[in-house]
């Protein structure tokens, strides 16, 4: 990016009355956050106080036992572990696969390169919502129903991830790669030892982007997994919710647990979170 002087974001002068701006921002922040805060607070209420009128913000009595109670209702520890396995594998896999493709498309000239890049981009048009029925049939043919492979492998190459990595690697100077080559470095070594360390920010952004999607994955495991032992947390919660007799405070407790990893990661790494989204909308 150039050093152009920018209008917004730098000590913006008050061109609208700042008071009005803050008033609207506070309303927006409350709109975004109150549902979440209300869920967390209510998860510490008893069933007697949870729907109390007038609204009671601070749980009294403070009842934390919904957490262990809910946790014990189903195999939630197991579902949680499954979700972690799925999300981590999909994330790590994508980092390699997308970075490789991004590097190949950015730094080698070979026949059909532009065509392949367009082909990759065109799969953005084939989201799961469109392909779920035939994808299920393909995975069924592979006998991958009720396997981790069946959940994970179809998601190992995210077209947007390839786009992001290519975009980022294009900006790396060719001389650097050329120099390593002259030093007699192997092509794969150049990729893993020179290129990968240089694109760490992009990899972090991609990791978070993919992890969020993988952790939140719902339709696909719902379709492809029938056995309880592979069930991820999202599907576990959905089934828990559809169970008629479920107590609200337990449901809220489980949802809070499911939400926590993502919210923590977001708050810690929001810079990268935002970068991934911004890159999806424009050239970096």
């Amino acid at each position: 990016m150039t050093t152009a002087r920018l209008y917004f974001g730098r000590r913006a002068r008050a061109s609208l009355p700042q008071l009005l701006i803050y008033l609207l921002l506070i309303v927006a922040a409350l709109w975004a956050i109150i549902p979440v805060v209300w869920m967390i607070l209510s998860s510490f209420k008893t069933m007697n106080t949870i729907f109390r009128v007038p609204l009671q913000w601070i749980p009294k009595p403070f009842y934390w036992k919904s957490y262990p109670e809910a946790w014990a209702q189903r195999n939630f520890a197991h579902y949680f572990l499954n979700s972690a396995i799925i999300a981590v594998t999909i994330t790590v896999g994508n980092l390699f696969v997308c970075a490789m493709a991004g590097y190949g498309l950015a730094k080698y000239r070979f026949r059909g390169r532009n065509f392949l890049f367009l082909a990759v981009l065109s799969t953005l048009m084939l989201p799961l919502e469109v392909t779920m029925v035939p994808l299920f049939l393909v995975v069924k043919v592979l006998h991958w129903q009720n396997t981790f492979a069946g959940i994970i492998v179809p998601f190992l190459a995210d077209p947007f991830g390839v786009f992001l990595m290519r975009q980022y690697i294009l900006d790396l100077p060719d001389d650097l790669i050329e120099a390593a080559r002259i030093d007699g470095m192997h092509e794969f070594g150049i990729f893993s030892k020179i290129v990968l360390p240089l694109v760490k920010p992009a990899l972090t952004a991609l990791a978070i982007f993919i992890f969020r999607e993988a952790w939140n994955l719902y339709i696909w495991p719902l379709i492809i997994i029938t056995s309880e032992s592979l069930r991820p947390l999202t599907v576990g919660i959905a089934l828990f919710m559809s169970n008629y007799g479920t107590d609200w405070n337990q449901l809220l407790a489980i949802a809070t647990i499911a939400m926590l990893p993502m919210v923590v990661i977001f708050l810690m790494l929001q810079r990268y979170f935002v970068r991934g989204i911004v890159l999806s909308g424009m050239k970096g």
Partner: protein, 303 residues
């Protein structure tokens, strides 16, 4: 970017056999992506195209029936209903999303301080899994839930949010806006923050006020980003599945059964794979129209 491509091209043309051999490594690096996308995206789509002209119930072999599925679809009231539902959902959620997200972005960049902090808080709904969103909003929309209690404070009788067709649709749309607006706020913010100050200084000389500044300077400069947000938001809304499935399961009486949910039910509850494939193809065609626009924007060289 073009400069890079040009130098590369020159290199290849004058390239020795060694360069060519090195460039062959490109295939190696692209291979895993191509294989995965081929098997898990293109192949399914091709088989969907085939299955859409067959009758297939998953247990007996597919039987060719020509365009029968498509003809049947356009006479199928349930399918046409789901198309209407999707259309209402897209139009009803997407327009408010544009306005709210641009407004939020403007507000956070105009705030003298704490713009980032506000963006962080406002962004939180985007991070949540659809399942968490569903639990959360079912709790809020519950007959004795917070929304109705608050309405009660101002004397409005409680609303059966998820149990009548109209209110269920409104509920789902409100959740859609809640989840999508912060996402596009971030994209708009990046766009706004990249506008050089010169444009506005030039405007000052012509005597602009904040209002004309917005309409005559900010909006025209943002045009490519607005275009992108329009396209992505429509695609996202067309794809919505998990929230309606978990909130209402498409009910009551199909009032919130969007097309992807209808495809899911046709395929996995009624095992009509041929029909479900035909619907998938139709949904694909609609999405393709918007996606082509997206790909064209993304691959525009001078952006």
């Amino acid at each position: 970017m073009e400069a890079i491509e040009n130098t590369n091209r020159r290199k290849t043309r004058s390239g020795s056999g060694l360069t060519r051999r090195i460039n062959r490594w490109g295939y190696f690096f692209v291979l895993p992506t191509i294989v995965i996308l081929l098997v898990f995206r293109f192949l399914p789509m091709l088989s969907a195209a085939y299955l859409s002209i067959t009758k297939y119930d998953l247990f007996t072999a597919p039987k060719l029936i020509g365009l029968g599925n498509y003809v049947a679809l356009f006479q199928d009231q349930v399918f046409l209903q789901s198309v209407r539902v999707s259309a209402i959902y897209v139009v009803g959620s997407v327009v408010p999303v544009w306005i709210v997200s641009l407004l939020l972005a403007m507000l956070t960049v105009k705030a003298v301080r704490f713009g980032n902090a506000f963006r962080t808080v406002i962004f939180i709904p985007v991070v949540l899994a659809p399942v968490v969103v569903a639990v959360l909003w079912r709790f809020l929309y519950f007959e004795a839930g917070m929304v109705n209690t608050m309405l009660g404070y101002v004397g409005i009788p409680s609303v059966p949010w998820l149990t009548t067709p109209t209110t269920a649709m409104i509920s789902i749309i409100l959740i859609g806006i809640w989840r999508a607006a912060p996402y596009f706020m971030v994209i708009f913010t990046a766009g706004l923050q990249a506008i050089p100050i010169e444009y506005y200084e030039a405007g000052r000389i012509d005597g602009t006020n904040p209002w004309t500044e917005f309409w005559h300077i900010t909006l025209p400069i943002l045009k490519p980003i607005i275009l992108l947000v329009v396209v992505i938001s429509v695609i996202t809304a067309l794809k919505v599945f998990a929230v309606p499935q978990l909130m209402t399961d498409g009910g009551p009486a199909g009032a919130t059964e969007v097309v992807p949910l209808h495809i899911y039910k046709t395929g996995f509850e009624f095992f009509k794979m041929g029909q479900a494939s035909a619907m998938s193809i139709l949904l694909f065609v609609v999405m393709m129209i918007f996606s082509i626009a997206q790909v064209r924007i993304l691959s525009e060289p001078n952006r």
